[in-house]
């Protein structure tokens, strides 16, 4: 009797509210109708080739010390479109969700574990990608998603039109490319090429052996020392190229500008050739020289300054 009395005391307004709440709850399954929980795993070789798609949302790939691949997450599978796929065995695996028509697609979240030695190929539309701990090769391409890779991939390719690329790696080779997204590269890399159209490049390259960094109107900022055996190349059309170097830097510089200006805040004795009409070239040596640095800027500034 007590519960009934309590219900009666709630009054008609409360029942109306409960009715609305019930309607809202009933609507929730429809809104989530396309969502599916994913939890798949399979044994594969330690150095397997793995292909992963995610059209929208987020994708996290982590290398682990097991000979298996596992994927967990929530995928959005709208009616009439391709759903989540998964297949693995031996030295290959592929999984993910993709569509040639991403209109009105809700995000999917995938968390994938792969053998640390796997070679991983990833493609996303707008999904952000994070890869850590994969020691085989890593190749990521996205349209507007951001890409973050850390660890020691055997080699790394990262490309996104509108997203940002953030690399902190100890690797043999890096290729990073954006249109408008910023690029950050640091680590110990034997051979790196980073190019953007309008994105800014932030480079910490004191442990790079060979590097090429290009933008059109984005800024390029280099922070750190230049290795004695390094060969670094910087090209911009109208963006700033800024070097913040330690006082004990040892490098040979060639700076070419056409309409751009070279601003020396480091105190170098540059030998200047050329003319204002046809461009100028500045050559100078920092410390005892060693690392080779070539800089080209059509009409942007080139600034040399001390670190800190």
């Amino acid at each position: 009797m007590k519960p009934i009395r309590r219900l009666k005391s709630l009054g008609p307004f409360t029942f109306l509210l409960l009715g609305y709440a019930n309607m809202l709850l009933a609507a929730v399954p429809d809104r989530l109708a396309g969502q599916t929980l994913v939890d798949r795993r399979a044994a594969i070789d330690a150095d397997a080739y793995i292909r992963i798609h995610n059209i929208a949302g987020t994708l996290t790939v982590i290398g682990w010390d097991r000979d298996s691949v596992a994927v967990r997450g929530t995928v959005y599978e709208p009616a009439g479109r391709d759903g989540f796929y998964f297949g693995a065995g031996g030295d290959v695996a592929k999984m993910g969700i993709w569509s040639d028509d991403a209109t009105s697609l809700e995000p999917s979240t995938l968390d994938v574990r792969v053998p640390a030695g796997a070679r991983v190929w990833i493609k996303t539309g707008s999904a952000d990608v994070r890869v850590t701990g994969v020691n085989g090769g890593v190749d990521v391409s996205s349209v507007t998603g951001s890409i973050a890779v850390s660890g020691s991939p055997g080699e790394l390719f990262a490309e996104t039109l509108g997203g940002r690329i953030d690399i902190d790696a100890d690797t043999r080779a890096v290729r990073a490319k954006t249109a408008s997204g910023a690029i950050v590269v640091r680590g110990a890399i034997r051979d790196v090429i980073a190019t953007s159209v309008s994105g800014n490049l932030d480079i910490e390259g004191d442990r790079f052996e060979r590097g090429s960094f290009e933008s059109v109107d984005g800024d390029i900022r280099y922070l750190g020392n230049v290795g004695r055996a390094s060969a670094l190349d910087f090209t911009a059309h109208s963006g700033l190229i800024d070097f913040a170097l330690p006082a004990d830097a040892n490098a040979d510089f060639v700076v070419g500008t056409f309409y751009g200006e070279f601003q020396d805040r480091f105190g170098v004795a540059a030998r200047v050739t050329g003319s204002r009409l046809k461009g100028q070239e500045y050559r100078f040596t920092l410390g005892s020289g060693g690392g080779q640095v070539t800089v080209r800027n059509f009409k942007g500034r080139v600034v040399l300054r001390g670190k800190g």
Partner: protein, 237 residues
Amino acid sequence: MNEHPRDDVLQDLVSGSLDSGATSRIERHLEACPDCRAEVNALRSLVASLGDLPAAVLPGTDLRAGIWQRIDGEAATRPSAASPEDGSVASAALSTPPRLRFATGASRWPLATAALVLIAVTATVSIAIDRGISGRGEPADGAGGERAGATMRAAEARVESAARELEALLAEQTGMLAPATREVINNSLSAIDAAVAEARTALDGDPGNPMLSHMLMAAWEKKLGVLRAASQVPIGI
């Protein structure tokens, strides 16, 4: 092999960088597929027209090609009777998402052209460097400057042609892209076009300038890169 090989696999075939097993598989497919055969013949003609370029500039197979080749090859050779629930690669192949819109049929051609033109441009610049007009070399003047200018013009013409094809391809689809993506693409192309125009004007006044040559080609390369990437964006992204 029933599926059409991807365009980069055909390029690898033409450049001779596929292993013997993959080469045999692709060649068997070519025997039965007139479309792919025509595409390979066209690619071979293009490569032949670039025959005086040093082989050293041709890129090797990269990670991407290796992974695709491996996975597609495995998927194609596994028994097709596998249960869809068994988690095998063969069953996954049944539900593999369709290839990107521009990776099939005739539209693959401009993408392949762009890739090969980039090779040609790289080679052209390499030749120029061999002839002593590198970024660290002295500017060529007089007859040397004119030769360098002619080399650049020829390389530029090839890139420009490939860019036009890709721009036409993109124009057909641009209305179906998300506004933010369209803005990124348009802004990037505008910035590159401005850079190309300025560098070209400057180079006209100083044809032997190695820095300008380098910058002009770098800008063209970026344009082809953006157009190539933009042409493969799914609808709605």
